[in-house]
């Protein structure tokens, strides 16, 4: 599967949290030829099933990457302008941005700022606050009232740009980069035997409440799961210990949110296959779908594989596609070994009561 064109389509689709429909339809269409069945559940998760070749009952392994992107929400109509609140965007990046307001139809707009000539000295020294910003649709107050209502969602326009080498920039690489990775893994599995049933889920509302991860886990009852998300790439000003080199391979997360033996298996496979990778130490909440999956429906052993991107939660997220190829190799190898014995390996054991306590 060619990564770039798929990623371009997916990142450019609009899918704010709770309004993932357009992105969901596209993912369902792309999943169709790679799965035996594709369905969309009650909250909008896109779920593809690719049965494995092992004897029944086969382990059910869920891959999950989230479909939704961060967004703004219209909070008031102020004449010809729109006031808004943000759900995830760094407010500093909003002034001067191009947006699409998902009103009665998609409406292009901009978030402007006072020209510097007209600013007071005080204004020049500070960033504008969200409460001072407005969206300008270039329409009259009457047209705005007709086309937009409070609660309409807004996404930033961030074109898909091919940078040098294998690097790209776009909006919504968080998390369409990993939705693309998941599709590429399904594609690779057409040619690789895997004993387990693979359930690929493009989940909704990760950026909001984690709803999709929970309902999909209730519905699918996976035996284990791997969440796929972006993480922080190293860039100036970011602390070294929780950032990873862009193009340095996937980050494999370790910590209480993850099952230690899934983490270890991923690390061992990466070593064995000589896939460059990083260890992502997560002492508590990972801020990903793994958090919800792990405790739902009795709890599913969970792993987390992330790809580092720069400028997360802006419209110019930057990724290196070499990391996608590497993550696909890692996931494919993981799924190829996920048999009944592996499930057994994940089971926590009681001590041997015949033996004396240490």
């Amino acid at each position: 599967m060619e990564i770039k064109p798929i990623l371009q389509q997916l990142t450019q689709a609009r899918g704010p949290s709770g309004g993932e429909g357009e992105a969901a339809k596209l993912v369902a269409r792309l999943m169709q030829p790679l799965c035996q069945e594709v369905s969309i559940d009650a909250v909008g998760n896109v779920i593809g099933l690719k049965p494995g070749s092992g004897p029944e009952p086969r382990p059910r392994v869920m891959l999950m990457a989230h479909l939704d992107e961060i967004h703004l929400t219209v909070s008031a109509i102020d004449g010809a302008f729109l006031r808004f609140v943000e759900n995830g965007y760094d407010p500093r990046t909003l002034v001067g941005a191009q947006v699409t307001v998902l009103g009665k139809k998609p409406l292009p707009g901009v978030i402007g700022d006072l020209p510097p000539h007209l600013m007071t000295d005080e204004d020049r020294k500070r960033m504008p606050e969200l409460e001072e910003m407005v969206i300008d649709l270039g329409l009259t107050a009457g047209q705005v009232a007709e086309l937009v209502r409070v609660g309409d969602q807004v996404v930033l326009d961030g074109p898909f740009q091919e940078l040098l080498g294998d690097r790209v920039a776009s909006k919504a690489l968080d998390d369409r980069l990993l939705v693309t990775t998941m599709l590429a893994a399904l594609d690779a599995l057409q040619r690789v035997e895997h004993p387990c049933d693979v359930i690929a889920v493009a989940s909704v509302q990760e950026e909001f409440s984690g709803l999709g991860a929970r309902t999909a886990t209730w519905g699918q009852r996976p035996d284990l799961a791997i969440a796929l998300d972006v993480t922080f790439a190293r860039q100036p000003g970011a602390p070294e210990e929780n950032t990873f080199p862009l193009g340095g391979g996937p980050a494999i997360a370790m910590g209480p949110n993850l099952h230690p033996r899934i983490t270890q298996t991923l690390l061992d496979l990466a070593e064995k296959l000589e896939i460059p990778h990083e260890v992502d130490v997560q002492p508590s909440r990972t801020g990903t779908d793994a958090w919800g999956i792990q405790v739902t429906a009795g709890g599913a052993p969970t792993g987390l594989v992330s790809i580092p991107i720069r400028n997360m939660h802006t419209a110019v997220e930057v990724a290196d596609l070499k990391d996608v190829t590497r993550t696909v190799r890692l996931l494919t190898a993981f799924l190829a070994q996920a048999d009944a014995a592996f499930l057994d390996h994940l089971t926590y054991r009681l001590p041997d009561f015949q033996e004396a306590a240490p």
């Binding site: 002492p283 508590s284 792990q294 429906a297 709890g299 052993p301 926590y348 009681l350």
Partner: protein, 363 residues
């Protein structure tokens, strides 16, 4: 028959068990309760589930829960000087960490939390601020980064190394005799190994009319994670949560009035009416209070709206009625805590009496 000894309590307290790393604590508990329960299993999260079958007189299923984990550090980076950098797993009181001994990783390697000698501190503000976690390092005595990396891996846990002690009055009792009903103790992880000890005790006695399901949970300190998983699978009729809770019954600043403490040491087990994440159903609260009064068991109310417990985790999915009975413990979420064994035993008595008469309450 009771099986609780000071020695068992010492091992429960001293053993490391950060969130997600509860295996060593779980093994101690499993060995202690194994001869006394009918079924023992570990779920997908690592929760230990011990079932004591009832006499058959009741079809109810009652959960008693206590969490095995304690607040901990996780090693995020090993630097070229061989010092370990950390992040917190759970809410550690940062004011208490400087200059404390710790144990690192599965081999429980000794280490200390380093700080500059006061002679070298030039910014007086540094004395007034709690240290930031990212400024803390653990020194295990490694001569360089390579030696440190041969002993410790990123992602391993560190917890405080605090010897368990029997405080005054009088001589320390025989550690292998049954746990005395009076006296005070100090040690780490009383939140919630005291709850674990109480649950071990309650599982060891005579069967109740109903099936008693003891759940020793994981990852309470980072968001009630074990309770959420167990609560989403089990659907008990009632859950009682056994905790070691806050007890700031200390004199305030000299000459100033102290705000009312959350609980007071030596005033009996604390009953929660509401905390940050849970409201105890009034009928269940009533039943516990009536039981305490009928049996003359000293008790106190925990100050409302403070802290959060596994009760919310068990209530989340099926609306399981849940209540919390706690042993007050001073200084929790730090290297050391102090508790009163009379409070502990009155708590055990109260839970036992509450369970014995629970049949009379319609759910």
């Amino acid at each position: 028959m009771s099986i609780l000894t000071l020695e068992l309590l010492r091992r429960l307290s001293e053993t490391p068990g950060g969130p997600g790393d509860e295996a060593a604590v779980r093994d101690i508990i499993a060995r202690a309760v194994h001869p006394r329960v009918d079924e023992l299993s570990i779920d997908n999260m690592g929760n230990l589930i011990a079932i004591k079958r009832g006499s058959g007189a009741s079809s109810r299923q009652i959960v008693l829960a206590a969490h095995m984990d304690e607040v901990a550090f996780m090693i995020t980076k090993i630097d070229d000087d061989g010092l370990l950098h950390v992040a917190a797993s759970g809410g550690i009181n940062r004011r208490t960490v400087l200059g404390k001994p710790v144990q690192v990783g599965p081999d429980r390697l000794p280490g200390v939390i380093s700080l500059r000698p006061p002679h070298l501190v030039d910014d007086p503000e540094e004395y007034r601020r709690p240290p930031k976690l990212r400024d803390l390092v653990i020194d295990i005595g490694a001569k360089d980064g390579d030696e440190a990396k041969s002993k410790v891996k990123r992602g391993q846990y560190a917890v405080f190394r605090t010897p368990f002690r029997f405080l005054a009055p009088g001589e320390a009792p025989d550690p292998n005799a049954l746990l005395p009903r009076a006296g005070r103790i100090s040690g780490k992880a009383f939140d919630d190994r005291l709850g674990c000890a109480a649950l071990i005790e309650l599982l060891s006695g005579e069967p109740f009319p109903f099936d008693l399901v003891g759940v020793f949970t994981v990852q309470e300190e980072i968001g009630l994670r074990g309770a959420l998983a167990a609560g989403s699978r089990l659907k008990p009729d009632v859950a009682l949560i056994l905790e070691g809770t806050l007890c700031p019954d200390l004199p305030g600043r000299w000459g100033q009035e102290q705000t009312p403490p959350t609980t007071r040491l030596g005033h009996g087990p604390a009953i929660t009416t509401t905390d940050r994440s849970h409201i105890t159903p009034p009928w269940l609260l009533q039943h516990i209070l009536r039981t305490a009064e009928a049996n003359g068991i000293p008790h106190q109310f925990k100050h409302p709206n403070v802290g959060g417990t596994d009760a919310a985790g068990f209530a989340r999915y099926w609306g399981t009625p849940a209540a919390i009975i706690s042993t007050p413990a001073r200084y929790i979420h730090s290297p050391i805590a102090v508790a009163d064994l009379a409070d502990f035993w009155h708590g055990v008595d109260l839970v036992k009496a509450t369970l014995q008469t629970l049949e009379q309450v319609s759910l």
